[in-house]
Symmetry: C2
Subunit: 636 residues, 2 copies
Amino acid sequence: MKNNKNISYRNVKITDRFFSAYQRLAVEVVIPYQEAILNDEVEGAEKSHVFANFQIAAQEKEGAFYGFVFQDSDLYKWLEAVSYSLYLKPDDALLGRADNAIALIGRAQQADGYINTYFTINDQYEKFANLREAHELYCAGHMIEAAVSYYEATGNQNLLAIARKKADLIYDIFINQSKPGYPGHQEIELALMRLYRVFNEEKYLHLAKHFIDERGKSPSYFDEENARLDWFVWGKSNGDNRYNQSHLPVREQREAVGHAVRAVYMYTAMADIANETGDEELYKACEILWASITDRKMYLTGAIGSTSFSEAFTSDYDLPNDTIYGETCASIGLAFFAQKMLNINPDSNYADVIERVLYNSILSGMSLSGTNFFYCNPLEAEPGVSGVTHSYSHVKPSRPKWYACACCPPNIARFLTSLGDYIWAENDSQIFSHLFIGSMMESPAKNIKIELETDYPYQSSLNYHFSGSGLFDFCIRMPDWAKDFSLTLNGERIDILAFQNGYLKIRRKWDDGDVIIVDFPLKVRKIYANDKVRANAGKVAFMRGPLVYCAEECDNGKLQNIFIPRNSEPEILAFDPNLLNGVVPLSAQAIRAKSDEKLYSENPPAESLITVKLIPYYAWANRKEGQMRVWFNERN
Amino acid sequence: MKNNKNISYRNVKITDRFFSAYQRLAVEVVIPYQEAILNDEVEGAEKSHVFANFQIAAQEKEGAFYGFVFQDSDLYKWLEAVSYSLYLKPDDALLGRADNAIALIGRAQQADGYINTYFTINDQYEKFANLREAHELYCAGHMIEAAVSYYEATGNQNLLAIARKKADLIYDIFINQSKPGYPGHQEIELALMRLYRVFNEEKYLHLAKHFIDERGKSPSYFDEENARLDWFVWGKSNGDNRYNQSHLPVREQREAVGHAVRAVYMYTAMADIANETGDEELYKACEILWASITDRKMYLTGAIGSTSFSEAFTSDYDLPNDTIYGETCASIGLAFFAQKMLNINPDSNYADVIERVLYNSILSGMSLSGTNFFYCNPLEAEPGVSGVTHSYSHVKPSRPKWYACACCPPNIARFLTSLGDYIWAENDSQIFSHLFIGSMMESPAKNIKIELETDYPYQSSLNYHFSGSGLFDFCIRMPDWAKDFSLTLNGERIDILAFQNGYLKIRRKWDDGDVIIVDFPLKVRKIYANDKVRANAGKVAFMRGPLVYCAEECDNGKLQNIFIPRNSEPEILAFDPNLLNGVVPLSAQAIRAKSDEKLYSENPPAESLITVKLIPYYAWANRKEGQMRVWFNERN
């Protein structure tokens, strides 16, 4: 292991139409909007109070702590996004405000390195005593991530110094003083791996590995903590430690269970540690957990988490479209996990999932305007029920401006601004084109630059231009959905290629001006779910390339009784630049069934032929609120 | 109004194969079993402790109160069932034990008439202060019902004296002393109407009407109570008074909302009061609420309550089959409501619903053995998910022996033993045959006896034999599902009949030996739900006569991907006396779709022809635990 490495976003410039627009939106709209939110300057949005919490903690303001126990993390995640943004588009004013925020964090830090405004302001609570609920290690993790990112993007070590001081305090408590326990919400493990790599400081790897290794040992730390505590944030544990994946030692876990975000954040750290330390047993557990998710617990859009209760995974093939949780953060975490697995073993399976989750359930987490966000990303929305009726109350049919629990919006901001991290990878002898995001990549190690010129996902042609020279394998992912391809090298057609773990592999001494043109035709695909997925029995969905499609009421009227004939062959409509920031819609022949007025009747519904218009799923809920469906009943 | 009246079970002897077996089971098995449960003598069943609570309250035993705040009601409902049972089959030993139980209740009663073991044992709590949660009026209601029933069945007034003392105390507090408020769980209103009728005591009608009239007035009593209280049973109110139907004055309510059992118990009292007092506005509200349920919120089986959250109604047409609540008590309450509506206006619509709910979601509440009970009655069960995964955890795939919250089992016991109440009705000039339950009826007013001889629901022939003589309309319900009929009077075929509100009407001077034979052919019907019912889009279900059918895994293997072709015509199989205590199964040609192994695939599932065996829904979950479905995807 340890051989493969994704190319950093700092060596990748995204240039294509689709994602450069998203990155521009993130830099120009999302980050300033979220800054205003964090400063409580947006009317009609949920209150954040996060800057105020830090000011109160720094004794620069009177007042009480407000928000969730993990409110601090919103500022850290925003600062992480700002870091990437400053790299993508230097901005002195923003840099100054970020420096000010970091200085404030520094002033709120206690002499021993401790910092967490909930505990600093509410100083009656013992620190690191309620690990299950209190999110101190979680917040520390997000601070560390922000610090590493800020340092890497700007060279400024101020936040890094704060974060290291906090990490050193945690190391001292949990390693030197042997305090038992580990995080209730995993996050710091993956962050410590990032911190470890900045200056190659082994202690941070050691601490990350310690938290992973201790987790789930018997007797349960959380059971002991729960019996001992006399205060709770939300209440005593119900004793089901699957919730935070501490029911078993991580190496013995065989099924993705519990809170989906905690799970994928932990799996990310597990894969990263396995890669770094060559721990085969840990890697094996990661492979099994990966299969548990992607073979049996993942929605077509890449969303994960089937129930709002505990924001959790449920049983295999239980994938309800309307009561889904499908948290945006969990989708992002699945991409994190996939990337770490890809770094261990460049198998297209992992990149396929990154693509699936990116183009669908991650992008659906944010409005096209960049100012509204989904926490839950359903595959079926029914206004009047979704967001209203109890079991559906978490599934909003429109994106709110913000959330009291606001983990998702800044997560999208940091993901989109660091998207360059996911496109390319390399090892000693190979370069990988994982995602087809038009971009200019540089490998300093190989002294080579490759530009991918494409209008993906609108069009299928992928044009690779090489600058510099060197002998290596160039590996282009053949997506799971591609049935064939055409490829030319410097204008010459190549029909037979080496194929390695889902990648087309071309080994040669590359030279300045080499050009590869690949095409994986973007046909429309009808998709069927495994027959164990009760929610999708008899149903069909549509995809084109990486994009899942959906129908919305504003295009089609009521959707609840539309059927797609088995022989209906959807058409690809012309790119419409004025629709939803530019999309390629589909249309399909369909049947609308109309019952009589009775609640129950012996008359089969009357049927009429209609044409259904479909749009990419990520773009739903950007027009008039209405029904939405990904899966349609099929007729034959 | 006030003209129509159902014939009392005391004037109706059930004689047919189907329900006399159920009544025998109730008398011989269910009531003794429940007595053992209430005495905590059944191993492996949830603890009841209800007798013990009364002994502790009577200071005849040391100990603490155990159970729900409404635990007393289990004993009262059981005593009500015992009353009917003693009438159906006199039993001196049981009578003695019932008398003992009543004496115990008497000893637990306080001098002022108060009795509620939760409050007597936990004497720190103020009485009648927490009306929203504490169920004192609810328990009083069930005591009154038991007392009236016991008196009517046995002539013994002991329990009646206790109940009147309690009712008089409540009258004194809420009427004489003008204490504001009304029950959090409606029940006493309908019970007071029964008490009122025993000796025609107006004060009880007045009290019932008072609770109905006060309910939902603004400002809200419950809001005031909630602000004032310093102790709660389950916690402060969330402020949504729709939960217990106190969000609006009852006459202004237009939609069935909130806790389904509370709703239908209240509507029952509203209809009964409207009938008694001629209150047209109240009756109008009942009609609107009836339509709200039966036109838009009722399952095919008659079950009501679409969500476990608050055990409540949700929005129109939201009828999920697998996360349904469908509480057995709510089904019974719907029959109560229907019966009161039928007494106001003998329209077959009401009797159709009684039949629907009786043969399906009420009977499904109890195992064929009489010793296991469903609280929730789903139309789709999926072991491994149902009863396990959070949103499905209330929906058990097998009937437990008892429940911590045990409202349903004794409700079935009292319903089955008093089933005679629902079969026949009369007014000055008419006799109605509402339900086709083979029985001998006597109308003392008309000095007439009618015997209905039938093997319904197995066979369709209904043979009415008249004894005595008199001039009146004989009105036979034509079920909503019947498309035609044949009828002979004394052997002579009659093709054209008067038809009144869904009843075939024959006016004549009846005489000894008159015989009517009616036949509503019991064909199999394919049923489609309204296209607004998302859960049943593209689906079909099967009924024969009043019986909804279902498929079980033990007959058919896995059910999740069985499709019924539009042209499949189900066959009626021979009566099988050895299957499920005797049923007429159906069989239907079907398609089994089998996907490939992938979670998502472009390959349509492979299809093979199979035959599906269907059994009556009420009899499901009496064999090996497995999947169950009422609604099937259809193919054409």
